[in-house]
């Protein structure tokens, strides 16, 4: 199995805004998670080591069932590891969750049908006890970030799937957590909408300098977005390769035709294939 210590990574080219922060934002050490099921134990994660630094955009890619969602859920303290250690912002995942260190975007938008778009974005803020005027300001701000200004008073069913997904991203952004965890947020959308949202996501990431964990099945999407691509393979779920992207932070859509892009994509594909082979 490939060792995946990424070490204190070199903040690459343009994303060096926080060059002084050396401690990783998320750090997994020898992380394992075994689900006990009726058909025996399922090793969703085995001996996973990974450091994610401030400002990183990390994609998780791998075949279905390789533990991507599980890994993200462990970071979010929605799942407890059976072995090993995970720290988020230097504290345990549970403490980080209680301190509302991250926003989490689920695969389905999961907007409350009985709340307007504005009401949905307001929801975490209400829970956190933010004042009414701050709520208003935050709603306005994040709706602009995801280009949904003017839709505050609409109900979710009045929006398209892509718009709902953007609204759910806006909701995860509303309380200004430094970490954004996204589990295949664009999985159900068509290519064109996806390209568009990818562009917007990069723009948002550049503006907010958040640390982003992003699960995807698409190699081009992973390469286009990430500063670091984590390739995983199943049974047991593990990391087989960690690829540091050499692409600049400024990424127009047509960068996908550049030789650099294609080379990284190749490496990802090789990594995926390798993981598949030692599985057989």
């Amino acid at each position: 199995m490939a060792q995946c210590q990424s070490g204190p990574s070199q903040p690459h080219s343009a994303s060096g805004a926080n060059i002084l922060t050396t401690d990783p934002v998320i750090s997994a050490k020898n992380l394992s998670l075994t689900f006990q099921t009726n058909d025996g134990p399922v090793h969703a994660l085995k001996d996973v080591n990974l450091d994610i630094n401030k400002g990183d955009f990390v994609s998780f890619i791998g075949p279905s069932g390789c533990g991507k969602t599980t890994f993200l859920r462990v970071m979010a303290d929605l799942e407890k590891p059976t072995e090993g250690e995970i720290t988020v912002n230097g504290v345990s995942a549970e403490e980080a969750r209680k301190a509302r260190a991250y926003g989490y975007v689920f695969q389905h938008a999961g907007l409350y049908p009985w709340r307007t778009i504005g009401g949905n974005i307001r929801l975490p803020l209400e829970i956190m006890g933010t004042s009414k005027s701050e709520q208003d300001a935050a709603v306005k701000e994040v709706l602009e970030l995801v280009h949904l200004d003017g839709f505050e008073k609409k109900f979710p069913w009045q929006l398209s799937g892509g718009m709902q997904q953007r609204a759910s991203i806006a909701r995860a952004l509303a309380f200004h957590a430094d970490i954004l965890l996204m589990d295949e947020p664009f999985g159900a959308l068509d290519e064109i909408v996806r390209d568009h949202l990818n562009e917007q996501l990069l723009e948002l990431w550049a503006r907010t300098n958040k640390t982003i964990g992003f699960v995807t099945h698409s190699i081009p999407e992973a390469v286009y977005l990430s500063t670091k691509i984590v390739v995983m393979s199943p049974r047991p779920g593990r990391i087989t390769d960690v690829i540091e992207s050499t692409l600049p932070k400024e990424r127009p859509l047509d960068i996908r035709d550049s030789p650099e892009f294609i080379e990284i994509a190749h490496r990802v594909r090789d990594g995926l294939r390798a993981g598949h082979e030692d599985d057989v």
Partner: protein, 292 residues
């Protein structure tokens, strides 16, 4: 506009006409024997049209004709003072008050039990079997006991009847609300967790709003059940007042017209109460954006 109106109302009118036709036919069929009997004893021969005419104007028919019931209802509502012991409005209001009180009590009990069942493991394991068992006991058997027991401790009047209403109406609310409060999926609950929401925030902001469609459906059934409970509760009280009392008194003296007019009143009452809940449901769910 007109077309849409008829599209909605048309089928209802057809059904109502069909009911009336069947009702008249049944009245003729059931009352003919008595009409012939009377004629035979009087020693006269009746033509078919005379027999049919007679079946619709008997004093104590087996099945009164619709217009007889209509006339009786008119007489006992519009033409009687509301305070009169013979006014159906008076009796309906007696039944209505215990129905409403029982409905409120039953709904509160139902919601409280549902919250307990959803939030408390012990209650989850233990309460539901008892709730179901309570509904397998025939209400007619325990209604008199409830009245007697409550009378013995000095409680009489409205409350014992309302207790029987409550007994019948809490059940659909418990069942519906347990389902409703559990309707949020794993993802929605996880979402709450990522925001580190407290138990009560989870209840008020997620579980309760999610349960609204279930609640209203339950409330409609509960309201109908509460009315049945109130009528049953009036039977053993010596038939002093209420629609149940009219039914009982009517059957003592074979006053079928009185029985049927009380029945029709009860049905109309149930329909309007359920209709009111339906209207509230429409408004609330619309404002919640849950109907499109």
């Amino acid at each position: 506009m007109m077309g849409k109106f008829w599209y909605k109302i048309g089928p209802i009118i057809v059904v109502v006409i069909a009911i009336f036709v069947l009702w008249y036919a049944a009245a003729v069929g059931l009352n003919t024997a008595w009409a012939k009997d009377k004629a035979k004893r009087a020693g006269v021969e009746l033509t078919t049209s005379e027999i049919i005419k007679d079946t619709m104007s008997q004093k104590k028919p087996k099945l009164p004709a619709p217009h007889q019931v209509g006339a009786e209802i008119w007489k006992t509502t519009v033409e009687k003072k509301v305070t009169s012991k013979r006014s159906l409005i008076y009796h309906s209001s007696v039944t209505l008050s215990s129905t409403l009180l029982g409905f409120v009590m039953g709904t509160s009990l139902g919601i409280a039990l549902a919250v307990g069942i959803v939030y408390n493991r012990t209650m989850d394991m233990s309460v539901m079997p008892w709730v179901i068992a309570s509904q397998t006991i025939p209400i007619l058997a325990i209604a008199p006991m409830i009245i007697v027991v409550l009378n013995a401790v000095g409680i009489s009047g409205l409350l014992p009847k309302a207790v029987i209403s409550m007994y019948l109406s809490f059940f659909p609310v418990v069942v519906g609300m347990v389902k409703g409060l559990r309707s949020p999926d794993h993802m929605q609950l996880d979402q709450m967790k990522t925001w580190s929401a407290s138990g009560s925030q989870q209840f008020w902001k997620l579980r309760l709003p999610s349960s609204m469609p279930y609640l209203f459906t339950s409330l409609k059934i509960a309201m109908a059940a509460a009315l049945v409970g109130a009528i049953i509760g009036e039977l053993p009280t010596g038939a002093v007042a209420g629609l149940g009392a009219r039914l009982l008194a009517g059957s003592y003296y074979g006053q079928t017209i009185q029985i049927w007019s009380a029945l029709i009143m009860a049905a109309a009452l149930a329909a309007s109460l359920v209709g009111i809940i339906g209207m509230i449901q429409a408004v609330v769910l619309k404002r919640m954006g849950m109907v499109q």
